[in-house]
Symmetry: C2
Subunit: 490 residues, 2 copies
């Protein structure tokens, strides 16, 4: 081990091989659900240094855990407890290598923070549309490795659709230059999309060429109050027919979400006089003018009110009002976290089945885990819900007796306080209930967060044998030594 | 062999195992550049029958050449001369399995003709935007296996971006059900995109779930006359900034293209009084109204004229006028074919380099292959040109003397008339000249047609060793017996 560390120091410089307390922040995930060990955290400064480190690791059969901004939600960038691995942080590879405005492309190194990429594009009058809560610290390499989604997928697609080319270090330590900025290139197998979403298990993305778009002139937001999820789905179809690709956001959240935001953030309040079961936030991005966008949104909302799809609606009259409406949506996760630990489901189902999914699954959970509070919100336009569960409120707990016993048996495995322990001990039972429903409705158990270590067993439960075999065959072919992020995904 | 044919007849029915004259149409490609042999043409009726046939072929090490509408341009669906293979035609698998309008998805079997898919979507008020010259006979399976492009890629992407899920028979004869209709699904490796564009060398696509879009209310077309390609690139940026995603088509063609169309199709004439070096066809697809689209196109063209980017412009005032402008563009390939054999380059380069590419490469070709006529047109918005070469006109031939000698030496290899023979004997030299330029400008030697057998040697010349190794490793892992379309791509 001392020898390995010496060699790593030789490759990247002693200052960039972290151990002990310096390494600690890299060994726990953002949600503090997973903590691992590692020989060291290694911080190469170039793709060539990444290749050199990987070659050394291949030679010594040392597992490598690639890490970007460490904002993942499934423990994909956290090493296991064995301590045999190194964490390879891409954080120092944070240069924008270039922008080609006429080609609408930008080349960024993997360690570039997403917001930096957005800002570099905006400085040239261009939009890089990937946008998500962690954009101030998540890196583009991590975004691509997990095929990140976010709030503008409806119009622009996931990270996958926003990437034209990659530079990748293979598990052998070869450097593949696939950094093309072409919209069309049909010359052989699609290696790019194999590395995207592979969570670092097939190689290490060191740079990417991403798509840019002309900056829209105006963005205008509306909030609609609805009776139920079914109306929200109908409203989506109406808005798409009226607004076409101008519709860039369509987010759903429930009254429970809004109440949580109002409880924990007193600055953020419902704009409506009355309370409603569901809310939809719509965003238009317009290349003509703010007036044109407002007019289009007004006529769409007018139709929705006339048809009884919306019970009430407000249309932002300024950027500040648009911001305020978005903040209701954006504070939900944080409000739920302030309320205590929760169990997240990052699911998707076909949009046509989303109303039935919510209705049936809400009922099932109340039946088997009485008192649980549903905090359901997300990207309805993509069929993607964060179908999150918070524990029953203190004093109103009314949990099934058999589960109470089971939870008590498991309590010693946890170190948190009792109520949190009891709640989290139900995680796998709740997972199974929700994910069985997802399967029934032809959905996905991980819409945008990936598998990592959190959902690895779930993956084995729900994937077909054929698909698992194909995945294993590809993993074995590209990484025969199994050094690339072992224990993740597969 | 008799035994193999008997077993195939047992699997799909005697009427669907074609030999002799019945098989002949399947053994020559559409352009009549390649002819091969096969034990038989096998026409299964279901994914299960495809799986059964593949299992039998795996057992007997019989190569399989999958074929859709046989409209490919690179010989990817034509067997080699050995006669050891079977051609597996997907033509009988031509059902639309279902449309989910609320989810904006459609499931089609591989043998569905592209136009049938478009029409099924339109009947539900939806758009399936993949559109290309061969859409009346090309199949969706072939479109996906070659990652087809076409005229609306600018807005909607290639076939790859239009596909959400696949059903595939693997080289082992397993049936993989990946027919998801989800916009977001981050559960493991992206097998879908590995099969898309693999030209049948990794498995056989038997069905696909594709994306639909709301039908736009109006499509309006304009034709602009320009001084040069550079102005066309600047006009593209202007149109994208003004029109955003409303801009769904941006096609370039040269004066030489227009003259060819006018020569061979007397119904189709330039709408301009004067002649111009280049023309750009713009199409807007609008969700508001025809009037709105016309107004947007008018203001865009007005700006282009004021800035001197366009020398003249016409905007269609009716669907019939839009159609007439499109037909100028759509008749170029046919007009060039009527002029005689030609050498096609299906290239892409970054849009920012396209003007320099055309200028430099035109000059190089005139220097080395004097008199050759450039027939350059294509999807400028995607950086994709059909940079085609026709032979010098009779009587004005002025070919480099050294080449004349070389051509004469090769003439006996061909059976066409002498002038055609001489011309086609230069194909590989012209390929190399153009493709070296493509490499210099960071482009692709096959933007949308694929590799097949036509460009296999070119692929080996221009791909990096690392990329070729990765492709071979994947091929070997998925198809260890090398029975899936051998001799294509790799």
């Amino acid at each position: 081990v001392a020898d390995l560390l010496d060699q790593l120091r030789g490759l990247v410089g002693a200052a960039h091989v972290l151990t002990g307390a310096d390494a600690a922040p890299f060994l726990t995930d953002w949600r503090k659900r997973f903590t691992g060990k590692a020989h060291a955290v290694v911080r190469p400064a170039s793709a060539q240094q990444v290749a050199d480190v990987v070659k050394l690791c291949a030679h010594t059969s040392t597992p490598i855990v690639p890490q970007g901004g460490n904002t993942g939600l499934v423990g994909g960038a956290t090493p296991d407890a064995s301590g045999n691995a190194i964490v390879l942080s891409l954080a120092r590879m944070n240069k924008i290598r270039g922008i080609d405005a006429a080609n609408n492309t930008l080349i960024a190194e993997a360690g570039c923070v997403l917001q930096t990429v957005q800002e570099a594009a905006a400085a040239q009058g261009r939009l890089f549309p990937l946008s998500l809560a962690a954009e101030g610290s998540a890196t583009i390499g991590g975004n691509l490795s997990t095929n990140a989604g976010g709030t503008q997928v409806l119009r622009y697609g996931n990270a996958r659709e926003l990437c034209l080319g990659l530079e990748v270090v293979t598990p052998r330590g070869e450097l593949w230059d696939g950094l093309t900025g072409l919209r069309k290139n049909n010359t052989g197998y699609d290696l790019r999309d194999l590395f995207i979403g592979a969570e670092g298990t097939l190689g290490i993305i060191t740079a990417a060429c991403v798509k840019l778009f002309p900056l829209p002139r105006a963005q205008v937001t509306a909030l609609a109050a609805l009776n139920n999820v079914e109306d929200a789905v109908t409203l989506l179809g109406l808005a798409q027919a009226h607004c076409g690709p101008t519709l860039t956001g369509f987010e759903l959240f429930s009254e429970a979400c809004l109440k949580l935001v109002e409880k924990h953030f007193s600055d953020h309040r419902s704009p409506f006089g009355a309370r409603h079961p569901q809310y939809v936030l719509l965003e238009l991005s317009d290349h003509e003018s703010e007036a044109h966008a407002q007019q289009l949104l007004e006529s769409t909302m007018q139709t929705a009110l006339e048809r009884g799809l919306a019970q009430d609606a407000v249309i932002a009259q300024s950027q500040a009002q648009s911001r305020a409406l978005w903040e209701l949506r954006e504070h939900i996760s944080e409000a739920q976290a302030l309320e205590g630990k929760n169990i997240k489901h990052d699911i998707s189902v076909p949009i046509s089945r989303i109303a039935a999914f919510v209705q049936e699954t809400d009922a099932l959970l109340q039946q088997h885990f009485a008192g649980m509070r549903m905090v359901t919100f997300g990207h309805l336009g993509d069929g993607n819900l964060h179908y999150n569960v918070s524990p029953p409120e203190y004093g109103s707990r009314n949990i099934d007796a058999a589960f109470e016993v089971k939870m008590a048996e498991k309590a010693h495995e946890y170190c948190a306080d009792t109520s949190e322990t009891l709640f989290l001990s139900q995680q796998s039972a709740i997972y199974q209930c929700v994910h069985d429903q997802v399967r029934k409705h032809a959905g996905s158990i991980s819409a945008e967060h990936g598998i990592g270590q959190l959902k690895r067993e779930e993956l084995l439960r729900y994937k077909s044998e054929v698909e698992l075999r194909l995945m294993r065959v590809i993993k074995l072919a590209l990484d025969p030594l199994n050094i690339m992020n072992p224990g993740k995904v597969l």
